[in-house]
């Protein structure tokens, strides 16, 4: 196994809070092992900053294994950094080489206001789910799990959409700041299952309305979201959402 240590230059967006303007600040980080994860590299920098009396860089993270959707970071012009189908927390320093300059920016979208430095507020996603991203079934109402067989392909497709981790990279990647990949993943997840059927129409109409209210842009099918999505959520879901929307809109009372 190789142990290449490298020296890097970082250009990091620093911003005290939502009400101030921010700017890029340059840092040198030295002796970074290529076995480190990207966030561990930032940990190293932060430890250094703390000891020298500076404020560490704020960034969101929690599980550090690519599933909670908490980490973000727009690294060198791509959400979640250079690797495909990957979250920032799983990006490793092997992706870079000695002497590189790495630019780190927060997710940029008015619907995701900056909290501090690289941390943004993604509460809009929760509110979109509140608008209809669920099946209205109270605890205790359920029938036996096997009483309703579901075609395996549909179940698998539904699962593939349900894998969305709500990270917001799709919004960050989209030139329109559209949340359609996120939204369509939820609409597809539920539209593909019989359990989602009763609320199918109201769900899509209400969720789209909420998305608009939150200030996301509209989808122009560029495909940037799909390319940046760490869970490879397919853009075909957006087309499915459109169909659901059209159907619901035309048949709504």
């Amino acid at each position: 196994m190789s142990h290449n240590n490298m020296n890097l230059k970082l250009k990091v967006w620093r911003q005290k809070n939502a009400n101030t303007t921010g700017a890029f600040v340059k840092y040198d980080v030295n002796d970074i092992s290529d076995e480190m994860s990207f966030l561990e590299m930032l940990d190293v920098l932060n430890e250094k900053l703390i000891v020298t009396g500076e404020e560490p860089i704020a960034f969101d993270h929690d599980c550090r294994e690519g599933i909670c959707g908490m980490c973000s970071l727009y690294i060198d012009g791509k959400p979640h950094g250079p690797w495909q189908a990957n979250t920032t927390c799983q990006l490793h320093m092997r992706a870079f080489k000695d002497g590189d300059t790495i630019t780190i920016e927060p997710w940029r979208s008015n619907a995701f206001p900056i909290v501090k430095d690289l941390t943004v507020d993604r509460g809009a996603f929760d509110r979109i789910i509140q608008a209809g991203g669920y099946v209205s079934v109270n605890t205790g109402n359920a029938v036996d799990g096997n009483s309703l067989p579901i075609n395996k392909d549909d179940a698998d497709a539904s699962f593939a959409a349900a894998m969305c981790i709500g990270c917001g990279a799709c919004v960050a990647a989209c030139k329109n700041s559209s949340a359609m990949l996120f939204l369509s993943a939820k609409v597809s997840h539920l539209a593909l299952l019989p359990q989602g059927e009763p609320e199918r129409k109201s769900r899509v109409l209400n969720m789209v309305a909420q998305m608009d209210k939150e200030g996301f842009g509209s989808c122009t099918n560029t495909g940037a979201c799909e390319a940046a999505c760490p869970k490879e959520i397919s853009i075909a879901n957006i087309a499915r959402l459109n169909k659901e929307y059209l159907r619901a809109g035309l048949t709504a009372e």
Partner: protein, 657 residues
């Protein structure tokens, strides 16, 4: 003194009876009653949603930016339920029995039986919510087998079962938010329980964005705050997982039970250096096909693939011929540690063993050849076919391994090492999930209740959802029925003011230390102490030393920690400092508990108590009890014992040879 409130009657009728006779709160009164739920993992989200549906006014809290990110999201393998869909002889009793046995006879029979009883309902509920479980071609639910059982009862959604279950519960929660029954407070950290007349009546929470302290009243406080594995610094838990909520409850009088019962999972990606911030689990399922070995020679210099068969030691197969690589987690972990301690470890750190897929690849390749009726196939072709099969079964895990280590696990054996994964210990609760502080409840991993000294795979998800969906709605009502005569207490009450002041002062004290060392560096040092002395194996001398070390660390922390930034702003370092301060205190209690338990059982292995061939030696005579600790002062605890009575199952020694 400790009343576990287990209903009388036959084991299988206790819960039914309880439900039939428990007191109820009428809908009009529920609407007037505020309930606080801290935590939105499987336990918290399911509880908050269910209570909201019942009409309670719920306030839910989590420290992440969204309830959907609770650490339950990371669970991979699956969730158990006694559905017997496979017709392979499963039943409520068998699930109950397996869980008790897996826990090495240190769990409460009545709780575990209830868990098994409601397990089926959980699956039904989740399916109804639209959780896309794996299915067979016929459209019915699929099951897989898991460690410690002989039936297939584990429901799963690829390697993302926890995610799918949590999304289901999260959506149910968000629906209640939309309906106005639940108010969600994300990026809020609970920093104290407020007690009035001995009862829990609210919490103090810090808004992590603004740094402001908030007072919240509730007729009851439910802690669903997860496990404390991060006391080890390195664990498979999320970075933010913490003991703070449970610890504050403990400081307010709630007993902490069996803190030394922690689970070390055998198959994790090993530590690669000092920079390491967390460990990643590789699903237990990998042990189904992989073979675990170390080089026989000390100081082996050759690469794994160059070491011939005769120089390899398949130590699990050697020591446990009957179960081989599939022994339970605690046994597998200890065996790996034993080999590494003896100097046979691999990799740069020498703290790893090989998990080898070469044999499986060859075996699957040959099966493919005969399946397809081919002849004259070269070894390379067989290998290629075998790799395809392995890829289909474990592809996502292999990818994850490759991403983290930069090695190709199809070509070279993976390196794995045990890592902290789960904590069986937690707040002591009675049958109703209420701690000894009235009005204060603990659900999910935060309580100690169902897994004894070792948890079986796929049963934590089950427990979290059982507690939240099917237990608390009844038991909370039973207690709140007596509270309807009490009017809500305004948060201007002196008790709230005093609690808030105390929290503010503590934060100010922390901030004022203004020392030289970072919070993280203390956490790392704490982790090393606990891992070395209260990890996979423990000894009297080691534990005593650890207690002294932790006490010294505590002193140093409170005199030399440095927290940058301000109090009244978003300040992750401050959040971390609060948590690490509590971990340090918990670390000491863990060692105290481990020192007290002069036996080996489940995940707790005391070197002094083992059989001649190195297996755990239980002492049912003297230690068949739950150790519930009450804090009585700094560095001081009093032990309360809850005797465990086995009325249905007869405890026996576990044997996997």
């Amino acid at each position: 003194m400790l009343n576990s409130k287990i209903p009388a009657g036959k084991l299988e009728e206790k819960w039914v009876d309880y439900k039939g006779h428990c007191k109820l709160v009428n809908p009009a009164n529920k609407r007037k009653m505020e309930v606080i739920v801290v935590g939105t993992g499987l336990a918290g989200a399911s509880a908050a949603a269910s209570l909201g549906e019942l009409g309670y006014k719920v306030k839910a809290f989590c420290f992440q930016d969204s309830p959907r990110r609770a650490h339950s999201i990371a669970a991979q393998g699956g969730i158990n339920a006694a559905k017997n869909y496979q017709n392979d002889g499963d039943s409520v009793f068998r699930l109950f029995y397996d869980t008790i046995k897996g826990g090495d006879y240190r769990a409460r029979e009545a709780n575990v039986h209830r868990l098994a009883e409601v397990s089926g309902n959980i699956i039904d509920q989740c399916v109804a919510q639209g959780v896309p479980f794996a299915r067979e071609y016929g459209g019915l639910l699929s099951n897989r087998s898991f460690g410690g059982t002989q039936v297939q009862r584990t429901f799963y959604a690829a390697g993302q079962t926890g995610q799918q279950l949590l999304i289901g519960a999260y959506q149910a929660l968000e629906r209640q938010v939309a309906l106005g029954n639940v108010t969600m407070h994300s990026r809020h950290e609970m920093l104290d329980v407020v007690k009035i007349d001995g009862k829990a009546k609210g919490i103090i929470a810090r808004n992590l964005i603004t740094g402001e302290l908030e007072k919240h009243f509730g007729y009851a406080v439910l802690l669903c705050t997860g496990g404390y594995g991060n006391v080890f610094y390195l664990s498979t838990n999320a970075m933010g997982s913490n003991v703070t909520a449970a610890w504050k409850a403990h400081k307010q009088g709630a007993y902490f039970a069996n803190p030394c019962f922690t689970q070390i999972h055998p198959t994790c990606i090993p530590v690669s250096g000092d920079h390491q911030s967390k460990l990643t689990l590789m699903s237990e399922s990998l042990r189904n096909d992989g073979r675990i070995w170390v080089p026989k020679n000390l100081d082996e210099k050759r690469k794994a693939n160059e070491i011939p068969e005769e120089d390899r030691d398949y130590f699990l197969e050697r020591r446990y011929p009957a179960f081989g690589n599939l022994v339970p987690r605690d046994v597998a972990s200890r065996a790996a540690k034993e080999r590494c301690d003896a100097g046979h470890g691999v990799g740069t750190s020498k703290q790893a063993v090989y998990l080898d897929y070469a044999a499986a690849i060859e075996r699957y390749g040959k099966i493919e050849v005969s399946k397809q009726g081919l002849s004259n196939v070269s070894t390379e072709e067989i290998t290629a076919m075998g790799k395809e099969v392995v890829k289909e079964k474990y592809g996502n895990l292999f990818n994850m391994y490759a991403k983290i280590t930069g090695e190709n696990p199809y070509e070279v054996p993976m390196r794995i090492y045990p890592a902290v994964h789960y904590t069986m210990g937690g707040l002591w609760v009675d049958y109703e999930l209420q701690t000894n502080v009235p009005g204060l409840y603990a659900l999910g991993e935060a309580n100690f209740s169902d897994h004894g000294a070792n948890r079986l795979g796929a049963s934590a998800l089950m427990q979290g959802l059982a507690d939240g969906y099917f237990v608390i709605p009844y038991t909370l009502g039973n207690n709140l029925a007596d509270e309807i005569y009490n009017t809500p207490i305004p948060t201007s009450h002196p008790a709230f003011e005093a609690a808030e002041k105390a929290v503010a002062e503590r934060i100010q004290t922390l901030k004022n230390i203004n020392g030289k060392q970072s919070v993280e560096s203390f956490h790392k040092r704490l982790g090393k102490i606990i891992w070395n002395e209260c990890g996979m194996s423990r000894s009297e001398a080691g534990l005593k030393k650890a207690i002294a070390d932790v006490q010294a660390l505590k002193k140093e922390f409170w005199s030399d920690v440095r927290i940058p930034g301000e109090i009244n702003e978003y300040n992750p370092e401050l959040d971390k400092a609060n948590r690490v301060a509590d971990f340090i205190e918990l670390g000491e209690l863990m060692c105290v508990d481990a020192l007290n338990r002069n036996e080996s059982c489940g995940g707790h292995f005391r070197e002094e108590y083992q059989t001649p061939d190195g297996e755990a030696l239980r002492d049912d005579e003297n230690f068949m009890y739950v150790a519930a600790w009450e804090t009585t002062g700094e560095h001081q605890w009093q032990l309360h014992k809850e005797e465990l009575k086995y009325e249905v199952i007869k405890p026996s020694q576990r044997n996997y040879k």
